[in-house]
């Protein structure tokens, strides 16, 4: 309904609608309405995602840095330690007095759990200090000056610089102690970052192995998935539909069922070993250990993640016209060259999408390695679960998870730089 009002001088003036509103404003209003409607449509999902996904992740990551426990229970002790550093030797008498007093108080209210939680928190950093805290707390109410002697007599740990440095360090409400632990490092009593004791170094290696196993699973899935997808995409619909069912059926089967089936197949008294013994390939007494180790994890994970490679590849290959290959061959290219130079490059978006999908799913994998991983087939997520479920060191679990998340985001960024996310086709 817009009309152009022609002014006296013959040059066009502002555009308005029939009722005289400027066109720009009217359009803006319509657009705003459309945007609101669109937003309202996605709002339920947005709220759902925020509540169930973004907020918990944020909270968990916050936990890896935010550590208010020690400062909440031992504020006076920390105040006396403000100017202290391990170079000065043991802290002054008033620090001992403050700690004794605060431990006695915490012991009095022990069913609140503060004492136990502080003891546990300190124990993560300095093994053995837990009993020093609880034992001293039991007798702290009866202690008399000089507190220094009394405390050290109650437990020798109070005569060690490291105990005090640990309290001082964890007194910071925000600290990166858990991230250091997640990369096998720690602070020593002088505040320098040093390597964790050699027997306790585990996470760097685990991250490395998780990365390596995920790469292995991804490349195996690509190797197996590419020919399958090619077959699916080039066969007549009747045949490819049947083949597709074979891909989808396991895809729809529960993860747990598929993992346990692998146990049945691969264990040393399992189906595969029985067959090998029966045809005489291996002796009854040296059956091959194919499960409860890295091999088992890689085999089971490859099978489980294979559909995530096949489906994007298939959907991309389906769109490649067979005439391209024919044209190349008619121009004299041998079959392989035509495939390699003409067909393969066009499948790249599918390869990229499949690899990214499989790799990202693989580095966070948990159930399969837990069931069939044995000792050397465990991945980093199994240790995140361990710290969530068994050691209750949620801060460390959060830090390990944070590093894993950062890794995935970095990978996504890299993919975007190299291939471009807009070329990601998932079928």
């Amino acid at each position: 309904m817009a009309q152009i009002a022609i002014g006296d001088a013959g040059k066009p003036e502002r555009l308005t609608t029939a009722d005289g509103t400027p066109l720009k404003q009217a359009l803006g209003r319509v657009e705003f309405r459309a945007k609101t409607r669109a937003f309202l449509l996605v709002a339920p999902l947005l709220v759902f995602l925020s509540i169930t996904f973004l907020f918990p992740i944020g909270q968990m990551l916050f936990r890896s840095l935010h550590d208010p426990l020690v400062s909440g229970v031992l504020p006076n002790t920390l105040a006396t330690l403000e100017d202290w550093s391990a170079e000065d030797g043991l802290p002054p008498e008033e620090a001992f007095a403050a700690l004794a007093q605060e431990l006695a108080l915490a012991r009095e209210n022990r069913f609140s759990g503060d004492l136990g939680r502080v003891a546990t928190r300190l124990n993560y950093e300095k093994p053995g200090i837990r009993s020093a805290v609880t034992r001293t707390a039991r007798s702290a109410a009866r202690m008399e000056a000089p507190f220094k002697e009394a405390m050290i007599e109650a437990d020798a740990d109070w005569g060690k610089l490291e105990s005090w440095a640990t309290i001082q360090r964890l007194g910071n409400v925000y600290n990166a102690v858990q991230y250091l632990a997640a990369v096998d490092r720690r602070y020593n009593e002088f505040g320098d970052i040093v390597m964790q004791a050699e027997q306790r170094q585990i996470y760097v290696q685990l991250f490395g192995r998780t990365l390596w196993m995920s790469l292995l699973v991804t490349s195996m899935a690509l190797l197996l998935g590419f020919p399958i997808s090619y077959l699916l995409a080039t066969q007549p619909t009747r045949v490819s539909n049947v083949l597709m069912i074979l891909v989808l059926l396991p895809f729809w089967t529960s993860l747990l069922v598929r993992t346990t089936s692998w146990i049945v197949l691969l264990q040393s008294e399992g189906v595969l070993n029985d067959i090998l013994v029966w045809i005489g390939l291996v002796g009854d007494n040296d059956r091959i250990q194919m499960i409860y180790n890295q091999t088992g994890t890689v085999i089971a994970m490859t099978q489980i993640l294979l559909p995530f490679m096949v489906l994007p590849l298939f959907s991309v290959m389906k769109t490649i016209s067979p005439s391209h290959m024919r044209a190349a061959q008619s121009l004299g290219a041998p079959r392989f060259q035509a495939f390699w130079k003409v067909y393969a490059p066009q499948t790249l978006p599918g390869v990229g999408a499949g690899c990214l999908l499989v790799f990202i799913l693989a580095i966070g994998y948990y159930i399969t390695p837990a069931l069939v991983g044995g000792q050397d087939g465990q991945m980093i997520s199994n240790f995140i679960a361990f710290h969530m479920q068994s050691s209750l060191n949620w801060g460390l679990a959060a830090a390990l998870g944070g590093i894993l998340l950062a890794g995935v985001l970095a990978l996504y960024w890299l993919y975007n730089k190299l291939v471009g996310v807009e070329r990601l086709t998932l079928g």
């Binding site: 759990g113 993560y124 000792q375 050397d376 068994s390 209750l392």
Partner: protein
């Protein structure tokens, strides 16, 4: 179609509303969480069924795999759904220390039939600030008798002897009990194990002993796994909870044999998560289930020793297999010779460090 949809929705709504109303009218069911399998069955038969019969209160039985993770998550989120949990001693003490459990008053516990106060009737160390023990259980090792026809393993050292007794071993994937086993097998008397283990050299010694069988070990996590692995022939011998192995022998007729030498015994206790919705009912249930007769009843379903002295003479035969239960208890004198009590204070101090070291050891 639209009409049908509306009718169904209305019908569902009615069902939902009446369902809630019906639920609210009855007493809330009590959620009791335990370890599953033969062990939970023994509790259901000895405690849950008679309790429901007597009070009319339904019991919802749930399984878990031990540890304090769920309790901690529920308490911290302020949304506790479990009323009563069966935990190991170290978790009972730690959960109490960290404020995750309700303190319990031991004076409420029923006395023994002869009038002995509960505090004197329970075995020493089985009552805690937040927990009441029901059973004494034990980690032992068991073997498949068909695999060793000539000489049968009889000591903890034999478990580590791959030459004399070849075959895969099953062990729980945790340092707890395994380090103790290793030291006992290395010749440390049961009474000195924790003393040795408190020194760095002692820990090195235990790991060195574990090193000797590392390549032949298959690690398990859930209590139901080891009897299964033995039955599958995956392992020739495995550490296990004694009751599970007994169950496989008595109820399923498996050719297994328990070796009691070097057993590490522990307790299972009732605890109430802090802020449990049915705390009062849970307390009633604790009183009910820890009286002399109930504890003895449980022992006729699984071979775990009762935590009360007065229950011991009442132990009879297995409820289904008819086997005399007394000799199969971890605490029976002939089994208790070289026994070691799990030291929860040691593990409270060192479990984080030793878990890390154990995990690093497994990976390398």
């Amino acid at each position: 179609m639209k009409h049908m949809l509306r009718t169904t929705t209305a019908a569902l709504a009615v069902v939902a509303v009446t369902g809630f109303a019906a639920g609210a009218a009855k007493a809330d069911p009590l959620t009791v969480v335990s370890w599953g399998g033969a062990y939970t069955k023994s509790q259901v038969e000895a405690y849950h069924k008679p309790f429901t019969e007597q009070t009319g209160i339904e019991i919802v039985s749930a399984d878990y795999n031990g540890g304090l993770a769920e309790v901690k998550a529920q308490v911290e989120a302020g949304n506790v759904t479990w009323d009563l949990v069966d935990v190991e001693l170290s978790d009972a003490v730690r959960g109490c220390d960290e404020g995750l459990l309700e303190p319990l008053d031991h004076a409420m516990l029923p006395p023994a039939p002869d009038g002995t106060a509960a505090a004197d009737d329970f075995l020493e160390g089985t009552l805690h600030d937040c927990a009441v023990a029901t059973i004494v259980w034990s980690t032992i090792y068991a073997y498949d008798t068909t695999k060793f026809s000539d000489a049968a393993p009889s000591s903890m050292a034999d478990f580590f002897d791959l030459e004399g007794f070849p075959g895969k071993r099953g062990m729980r994937r945790t340092p707890k009990a395994n380090l103790e086993f290793a030291l006992i097998a290395d010749g440390v008397p049961a009474g000195e194990v924790y003393e040795v283990l408190s020194t760095p050299e002692g820990v090195d010694r235990a790991f060195a002993k574990l090193d000797t069988i590392k390549d032949e070990v298959i690690w398990w996590e859930a209590g139901a796994q080891p009897p299964q692995m033995l039955a599958d022939g995956e392992v020739a011998m495995t550490t296990a909870y004694n009751g599970r192995v007994f169950n496989a022998i008595a109820a399923e007729g498996k050719p297994f044999e328990i070796v009691w030498d070097g057993q590490v015994w522990d307790l299972d206790l009732w605890v109430i998560p802090r802020g449990a919705p049915n705390k009062e009912t849970a307390l009633e249930f604790i009183k009910f289930s820890t009286d002399t007769q109930r504890l003895a009843d449980q022992a006729s379903w699984i071979s775990y020793g009762p935590a009360r002295k007065s229950s011991v003479p009442l132990i009879g035969t297995h409820a289904e297999a008819g086997v005399e239960m007394g000799p199969h208890m971890p605490t029976a004198p002939e089994n208790f010779g070289n026994a070691l009590q799990n030291d929860f204070l040691f593990w409270a101090d060192y479990q984080d460090e030793l878990n890390e070291r154990f995990n690093a050891w497994l990976v390398n």
